[in-house]
């Protein structure tokens, strides 16, 4: 059973092990961890305009994670209520590394800008594909939130597709560097479509209308449409998914997360769970 560090007096009513909670952790953790990794470019992106755009996209991801976690808390109180804030912080930052459910691709270090943009393109299309499915969720809260986030996601996709065009149209050395990054990211992206514990239950009751395995096909079609005009759809022919990119949905993470990202992103929270920021 998942244990949480929380500020004194804070209790999380919902069991994190319940299938619906596991789904919400998958959704929130993908956003949270991808957002953290994207935020590494803040202040050091190749141009100030890109810096601002990429940093706010990262911020959006962390905000979306917050919103998914609020559905686990399930409180009637506002998202700004101190009790809700404390519970959301506990979910987002109070878990041990093995209790995070994001895919391993999300936790990879930012690498160069080619890798970060490639991940941005690929992951945001995964998220958009999944959000489309979730708007039909039998859970009204999840369906409603998916619709709102999908609306925000439009800008992220536009940004991703524009930089796809820019990097695909760059001079040959840059294009091939980007292509190699895209190849690696697409192969590791298959880790996003593994099922999590409890997925069968939430698919059966319609909370997750489309299982991750089927979402993968919808995502591949979408990527085909996006990449083909740039002659890059070849990267979708993945012979073998690297085994070290799998397992995130069940809590197996790479040292990129356990030894690097997790300690960093939880530093403040672990030192004082009641800290306000």
């Amino acid at each position: 059973m998942t244990s949480l560090r929380a500020a004194p007096g804070v209790t999380i009513a919902t069991a994190l092990g319940a299938p619906r909670s596991q789904l919400l952790l998958v959704l929130g953790d993908d956003d949270l961890v991808t957002g953290h990794r994207a935020s590494y470019w803040t202040g050091v992106a190749p141009a100030i305009e890109m810096d601002l755009a990429f940093a706010t996209i990262a911020q959006d991801g962390i905000n979306h994670a917050d919103l998914w976690y609020q559905l686990i808390v399930g409180s009637e109180l506002s998202g700004n209520d101190p009790q809700v804030r404390a519970a959301v912080d506990a979910i987002g930052l109070g878990r041990d590394p093995g209790d995070y459910r994001h895919a391993i691709l999300c936790e990879r270090p930012p690498g160069d800008i080619a890798f970060s943009i490639a991940r941005h393109i690929v992951v945001d299309h995964v998220l958009a594909t999944r959000l489309d499915a979730l708007t039909g969720s039998s859970d009204r809260d999840i369906a409603g939130l998916a619709g709102k986030i999908a609306w925000e996601q439009r800008y992220h996709l536009r940004h991703a597709v524009r930089y796809l065009g820019l990097l695909a149209g760059a001079e040959p050395a840059q294009r091939s560097r980007f292509t190699r990054a895209l190849e690696r990211v697409v192969a590791e992206a298959f880790g996003l479509f593994e099922s999590f514990a409890g997925e069968a239950e939430v698919v059966a009751d319609g909370t997750l209308p489309v299982a991750h395995a089927e979402l993968r096909d919808a995502w591949l079609e979408r990527m085909q449409t996006v990449l083909a005009p740039h002659g890059l759809d070849g990267v979708l022919d993945v012979d073998e998914v690297p085994s070290d990119a799998l397992g995130g949905r069940l809590g197996t993470h790479s040292r990129d997360f356990t030894d690097e990202l997790w300690p960093e992103m939880t530093t403040l929270y672990r030192s004082d769970p009641a800290a306000e920021w």
Binding site: I48, E49, A128, R158, G165, L166, G169, T225, V226
Partner: protein
């Protein structure tokens, strides 16, 4: 809901008439990435576009895309536009803006202290025994017929 496509006619702009009517025609890498664009925003839908700043981008769509986060991250606008800085028609000879003679009559400062001036004029008129300042005809009155 349409999630992709590099066109920019679906960005939540509320008034369709102010959208850019033509799709992307500028090639992806047509310009150096340090190309400067002027950015204009509209606070409310009926406001005029106002200049808010500049942005670097190598093409129009990227300029439009990045301007959102550079200049409109805090709900400053309901609509915005960009134009390449080198496509503005600049005044070739800025000396045309310089003045060598007094043009106070065109400027607000030329009319400052008017109340005091008027009061002094009234006092002077009263000293002369005239009340012509009070008897000036109101606009629209037929002065000729009154005089007869």
């Amino acid at each position: 809901m349409d999630h992709d496509g590099p066109d920019h006619d679906d960005t939540g702009v509320r008034d369709p008439s102010v959208r850019n009517p033509s799709p992307a025609a500028v090639p992806d890498t047509a310009l150096p990435i340090e190309t400067m664009w002027e950015v204009f925003g509209r606070r409310r839908i009926n406001d005029a576009l106002e200049h808010v700043g500049q942005i670097h981008a190598g093409d129009r769509d990227t300029a439009l895309l990045l301007a959102r986060e550079t200049h409109f991250r805090h709900e400053e606008a309901v609509d915005y536009a960009v134009v390449r800085s080198d496509q503005l028609h600049r005044l070739e000879d800025p000396s045309l803006l310089e003045r060598r003679v007094d043009i106070d009559y065109r400027l607000q400062r030329g009319y400052s202290g008017f109340r005091d001036k008027r009061a002094r004029a009234r006092e002077a008129a009263a000293r002369r025994g005239a009340d012509d300042l009070q008897t000036r005809p109101a606009p629209g009155r037929d002065v000729a017929s009154e005089a007869s």
